[in-house]
């Protein structure tokens, strides 16, 4: 376990995440990314369903699918014109990629069950995301990374 890494216990699965590095990276871009998101009346992750109300048994499935969501639908659509921001975003993306890989291995051993409630929450995240154009949705989702990290 390298310094700054933390093991997250997500149901039966355990995933090591360089949380200190991710947090520091997010803190560095938070003001700039959130300032590019003018829509205060819509949240991708926290409304109408709050991640904090997720049952313990659903944590693993939701974490896995949110990692998928960020890797497949968020980071790749967050190209900023500022190279500093881009470096921070790709560093966070790489951390998510490795965490997803580990979580998928656990999932393949059928240890990451998805219940109906988690399916509904994940469906809502996608509905919220698709309610905006891709770039706006990606920037908003990136600006909400702390919501995911706080929940984990």
């Amino acid at each position: 376990l390298t310094a700054g890494n933390k093991i997250f216990h997500l149901g039966p699965c355990r995933v090591s995440l360089s949380i200190t590095e991710i947090r520091a990276g997010f803190n560095a871009i938070k003001a700039s990314i959130q300032a590019r998101d003018p829509i205060k009346t819509l949240s991708i992750l926290s409304h109408p369903y709050s991640l904090h109300k997720v049952k313990a048994s659903d944590r693993c499935c939701i974490a896995l699918h949110l990692f998928d969501f960020y890797v497949d639908k968020v980071f790749k659509h967050c190209k900023a014109e500022d190279s500093y921001l881009n470096r921070k975003i790709s560093s966070i993306a790489n951390s998510f990629l490795s965490a997803r890989r580990k979580l998928e291995q656990c999932h393949q051993q059928n240890q990451c069950p998805c219940g109906q409630e988690s399916d509904e929450k994940l469906e809502q995240v996608l509905v919220n995301y698709e309610g905006l154009n891709v770039t706006s949705a990606a920037i908003k989702s990136l600006g909400e990374l702390d919501i995911l990290l706080d929940w984990m």
């Binding site: 933390k6 949380i19 200190t20 947090r23 520091a24 803190n27 003001a31 959130q34 300032a35 205060k40 009346t41 819509l42 949240s43 926290s46 409304h47 709050s50 904090h52 600006g143 702390d146 919501i147 990290l149 706080d150």
Partner: protein, 216 residues
Amino acid sequence: SGELYCSLPNPRNVRFESVNMKNVLRWSAPEGTGDGVLYKVKYSVYGVGKWIRKPECRNINRTWCDLSSETSDYEEQYYASVKAFLNGMCSNWTETTRFNPLTDTKIDPPMVSVSSTEKSISILLTAPEKWKRSPEGKSISLLQVYPGLQYNVSVLNKKTKKRWFFSISNNTLVVPWLEPETAYCVSAQIHVTTPLLHSGFSNEQCIATLKDQTTK
């Protein structure tokens, strides 16, 4: 919304200042305005579609407004906004950045209590409490808010100026094998790994180890 045309300069530096989740909205008066400016305040929960007025901060002349009660759910994030009025003129609403009470609060140092024997000192650390609505309200330690909370403890031998550092998760520490009749000073800091937060160091608490009874 029937708002007047607003030509007064905006309030400046509108931001949340938070300590132990006592979340106070603060701002500076609009540029070039002296006394007599009045303000009103509204806030919103991020992701929820409406602004909510804060009646206790309507037509106030001070430049702060305590929104601790309105922002006490630290699983949510918030915005707040201020509008200024002077001589029938008004400013535009001026907003904060997005406020996350969990990551954007400052944490006070822990309380440190020390006791000693001949060759050891015992240190008891108490994390600050989260802000609460009233003194009778239920106390919530920041330890419950931040389960990964740790303490960094510094112990200084006043005679030799030798200093030790300890990083502990529980709130008690016994430092053994010390010199009798010697003054030691203890200071402690709170450190949270996720989210990244740490307090300042507490004021030093000094205590002397007792006289060694075996050397009479």
